[in-house]
């Protein structure tokens, strides 16, 4: 019986509920040392000296500085501008300077605190405006990591034409991924055997690539093994390369295994967070409420090194004009350098920022021209055959209007809008309901998947047992389970007959990173192809008929292996036919497909405490075939929860480039009493190039909640909130100003 579409229980569920699942901090090796990182306390400057405190037995410590690096001191990613260890120059607070290792982790922490790094300060930059104005140039010639210009039609001419132009400016703050398992790595390293690292990660091959140049060793000498990983959300995409490098450098120098586990404060302050952003909209609308021109400026704060900022900027840019048709669009975007720790990957990857701005702005424009938010959007939804801002002609049967109908009905939007208008006049507390309509592209942008050229293998071991070999990591989202379902269905076997191998670069091919909502749609499709390859091989060998039992399959495998040798089928990514992307002009088919959604939030605002409470949340989305409903709903619910946190609670407080509230005590994420019922509904429109018709969903739920909530707050209070997060302090100021 096919398992796709069934809620097969999580494959590693038993290990997780019994505490047997092994995370990196649960590992210990004989003779193991613990590692710690000495970091900069200042934003920018030149290192003048390092002072070792008097009460520590320093000769017992392994101490690593930039001078100990055997290969290149740069984290290989996009521009290779970030060192593993600062070499004379500091570019951001929390920048790693020295590494320490000792067998006593309590003494280690004391020693870390006893090191004083003397730094001669240099001018630093702490805001996007200062970066753009080049008050000080801290990166390259102009503080700009990357810029894009997307241009369709003629925005200036369209705006000069006497049409109504509505402007708006929107901002979003940083957000910490806050996976509950902090980052950590355990390494062994020596010149003979090379380097092996076990750890918490999303992308084993990214780490391998970074360590290849750090140690200048061939790939077969660098082995990366993913342990059970306690959440990632993008936060374990690129930064783990640095931690793996650090653990390996300490292991290399000490000759002992070294484990580096970040404590929560270090993890929050030093590792990547969501890019802060600012978006300016100028929107021209005709007398019929149709979009005539959109002029969008989108700026993100990349922090001190380039890391993934160009790619985050790209996704944010492409999503900035949303699921609407507009003949004249200009999007100018910049990722700028500031003296903060680099911002990085976080679920949604730039899209939540630009979609927040657009979807809040859509309500502002609707109000300005006297249309309801619903009617204004209905008049402008993109429909099949029309081209998006980047010129992608939509050729899938998109039904934004239908999704909107369903979401508004399920949330009782119309009824509540009417009721709240009445009840808010009498009531002290104010209620509101708002929504956002949006889409999210699945997989790497443009030609990204072609460059990745992901490979998946499906192996048959002699007893007829099937092993799925990918580097795609299980980080809670359900990779193990859906791959077993996909391979099982392709092979007509139960999903528990499929083993999904723990990612280990010594064993699995490179199926690319576990990012960009690509695991199910792109890698899952390759799993399906490779599994079908195994079946075809057995059928072609005359060992298997069209229908068979599990034991027929096992017999066929045994027979094949005995006759021919090991059986392995591989599949390599092939782009769907007809996809075209022009990287120079930033025009073309940005993504193979999109998930489409409408999210509705209902809120109560307390005008005494200025707290916003989300009372109900409806999430309607079209994501292709749903492989596993419980896992898919869990993805949406968790993403919405994270987005509600971003919208209302999660406020990173900066002081001269440092996060000063790097504790769970004062950086507030939603608890079980802070969230509404999150009601999830799927529409399934099979995507021909996904496994069984599935698309990607991981990032989508991060996009819609913040604007839906802000629109609901605007309806409830009459003020127009424009900055994420909407903390009580911010709302108080807005409402008091409105009261006069």
């Amino acid at each position: 019986m096919p398992t796709i579409g069934q809620s097969i229980p999580r494959k590693e569920g038993r290990a997780k509920v019994t505490g047997r699942a092994r995370y990196v901090d649960d590992m210990a090796l004989p003779g193991m040392l613990y590692g710690a990182t000495v970091r900069s306390t200042v934003a920018r400057g030149e290192i003048r000296g390092i002072e070792y405190g008097p009460s520590i037995p320093w000769d017992e410590f392994t101490i690593v500085s930039a001078a100990d690096i055997p290969g290149r001191n740069c984290v290989t990613l996009i521009l290779d501008d970030q060192p593993f260890l600062a070499d004379g120059r500091i570019n951001h607070p929390e920048e790693p300077i020295l590494l320490l290792a000792h067998s006593d982790r309590f003494l280690l922490e004391e020693a870390r605190r006893q090191i004083i790094v003397h730094v001669e300060p240099r001018p630093a930059v702490f805001s996007m405006d200062d970066a753009l104005e080049r008050r000080h140039v801290i990166w390259g010639n102009d503080n700009i990591f990357k810029s894009y210009v997307v241009s369709r039609g003629d925005v200036d001419a369209a705006m000069a034409d006497g049409v109504r132009v509505i402007e708006g400016e929107y901002e979003t703050g940083a957000q910490e991924q806050l996976y509950i398992e902090p980052n950590g790595m355990l390494a062994v390293a020596n010149p003979v055997d090379g380097v092996t690292v076990w750890g918490s990660m999303q992308c084993p091959y990214y780490i391998q690539k970074a360590l290849l140049s750090l140690f200048e060793m061939p790939a077969e000498k660098i082995r990366i093994v993913q342990m059970e990983t306690g959440g990632g959300f993008g936060g374990k995409e690129e930064y783990p390369s640095i931690i793996a490098g650090h653990a390996a450098l300490l292991a290399w120098k000490s000759g002992r295994p070294v484990k580096v586990i970040y404590d929560r404060a270090e993890d929050m302050a030093a590792t990547t967070k969501r890019h802060p952003s600012r978006t300016r909209h100028r929107t021209a609308v005709d007398g019929q409420g149709r979009l005539v021109a959109m002029d969008i400026e989108f700026v993100i704060d990349g922090g001190a090194y380039c890391t993934l900022s160009p790619v985050v900027l790209s996704r944010g840019t492409i999503h900035a004009a949303g699921p609407y048709f507009c003949p004249n669009v200009r999007i100018r975007s910049h990722a700028v350098a500031t003296s903060a720790p680099p911002h990085g990957a976080f679920r949604g990857f730039g899209a939540p920022q630009s979609i927040f701005a657009l979807e809040r702005h859509m309500d502002v424009v609707a109000a300005a021209i006297g249309l309801t938010p619903e009617e204004f959007r209905r008049r402008n939804f993109i429909t099949p055959g029309q081209a998006s801002a980047v010129g992608q002609v939509i050729n899938e049967p998109v039904g934004m209007a239908r999704l909107l109908d369903r979401a508004l009905e399920l949330s009782e939007y119309h009824d509540k809008t009417r009721r709240f208008a009445v009840s808010n006049r009498r009531s002290t507390t104010k209620q509101g309901i708002g929504f956002a309509s949006f889409m999210h592209g699945a997989g790497f942008t443009g030609s990204g998947e072609e460059h990745l050229a992901s490979v998946v293998a499906v192996d048959v071991v002699p007893d007829g047992h099937v092993r799925v070999m990918t580097s795609s990591t299980e980080i809670g989202q359900g990779t193990n389970t859906i791959f077993a379902q996909i391979a099982g269905d392709a092979l007509q076997l139960p999903s528990d007959a499929i083993e999904v191998v723990q990612p280990d670069t010594a064993l699995v091919p490179n199926s690319g990173p576990t990012v960009a909502s690509r695991t199910c749609m792109v890698v899952g499709r390759l799993v399906e192809s490779a599994a079908l390859g195994v079946r075809r091989t057995l059928v072609d060998a005359g060992l298997l008929g069209d229908s068979y039992t599990s034991s027929d399959f096992q017999n066929a495998c045994r027979e094949y292996v005995a006759r021919t040798g090991p059986l392995r089928a591989t599949a390599r990514y092939q782009p769907p036919p007809g996809l075209k992307w022009d990287d120079e002009r930033y025009q073309g088919d940005a993504y193979g497909t999109y998930a489409w959604a409408v999210y509705v939030a209902e809120v109560t605002v307390d005008p005494v405490t200025f707290e916003v409470r989300v009372d109900d949340f409806v999430a309607v989305q079209e994501i292709g075939k749903v492989i596993n409903p419980v896992l898919a709903s869990g993805q949406i619910e968790g993403g919405v929860a994270q987005a509600i946190g971003w919208a209302l609670h999660e406020h990173v407080v900066w002081r001269e480039g440092r996060m000063v509230n790097s504790q769970m005590t004062n950086y507030i994420m939603p608890t079980s009493v802070d969230l509404p019922r999150i009601r999830v509904y799927f529409e399934e429109q099979a995507y021909p190039y996904g496994p069984a018709g599935a698309k990607g969903i991981g990032e989508l739920p991060m996009d819609g909640a913040a604007p839906a909530i802000f629109n609901a707050v605007a309806q409830a209070t009459g003020v127009s909130p424009t900055k994420v997060p909407l903390t009580p302090e911010v709302l108080m100021e807005l409402m008091e100003r409105a009261r006069g």
């Binding site: 809620s7 229980p9 999580r10 590693e12 569920g13 038993r14 290990a15 997780k16 509920v17 019994t18 505490g19 047997r20 699942a21 092994r22 995370y23 901090d25 649960d26 006593d104 309590f106 003494l107 991924q177 806050l178 996976y179 509950i180 398992e181 902090p182 059970e228 990983t229 306690g230 959440g231 990632g232 959300f233 404590d263 929560r264 980080i475 809670g476 989202q477 359900g478 419980v630 896992l631 709903s633 869990g634 619910e637 968790g638 993403g639 919405v640 929860a641 994270q642 504790q663 769970m664 005590t665 994420m669 939603p670 608890t671 079980s672 009493v673 969230l675 019922r677 999150i678």
Partner: protein
């Protein structure tokens, strides 16, 4: 069970030597030894290798290190070894009866209550603790009882579902 090899915090000068503490861990009478202020979390994870108890924040906010001490749900990162004397401790390793899982564990698997799994041991213990006090909790009771256990993956919805299902295992499956 006597614990021979200890790696919990070494006493600093002037703070007195290690102490020995008798307690019951997952039904087994045990003697723990260490600095009186050693975190019980470290003693469990490092000395006893009971690594199912997780560290998420080290400041009593996240609940990943939750255990039951004399039937009370506590964050073991905030409990000094001294306070374990004479108590009965249950960690996640002591919840299942051999290979037979507790109803809460079964429900977490069946209804999607665990995603990345790092909060799961503490969350399962918090749910068991609730059901011991209130065998048929309303959703508001479940929310309150789990409010000290942070989960970043699920948005809690499926955890609530799992707890309800654990109370009514015979109810038809969705």
């Amino acid at each position: 069970m006597h614990v021979g090899e200890l790696v919990s915090p070494k006493p600093r000068s002037g703070e007195g030597g290690p102490i020995r503490v008798g307690c019951t861990i997952n039904g087994v009478a045990s003697t723990l030894e260490g600095h009186p202020m050693a975190r019980l979390l470290d003693v469990l994870r490092h000395d006893l290798r009971l690594t199912g108890t997780k560290e998420g924040c080290g400041e009593g906010e996240c609940g990943a290190c939750a255990i039951l001490i004399d039937g009370q749900l506590v964050n073991s990162c905030l409990v000094p070894l001294l306070h374990a004397a004479g108590t009965s401790i249950t960690t996640i390793e002591g919840v299942a009866d051999g290979e037979r899982l507790h109803a809460v564990q079964e429900a977490f698997i069946a209804y999607g209550g665990a995603q990345c799994g790092i909060c799961t041991p503490g969350m399962v213990l918090a749910a068991i603790n609730l059901l011991a006090r209130n065998p048929d909790p309303a959703e508001a009771d479940i929310r309150t009882a789990l409010a000290g256990n942070l989960c970043r993956c699920t948005g809690y919805m499926r955890i609530f579902e799992a707890v309800v299902r654990a109370c009514h295992p015979s109810a038809s499956q969705t």
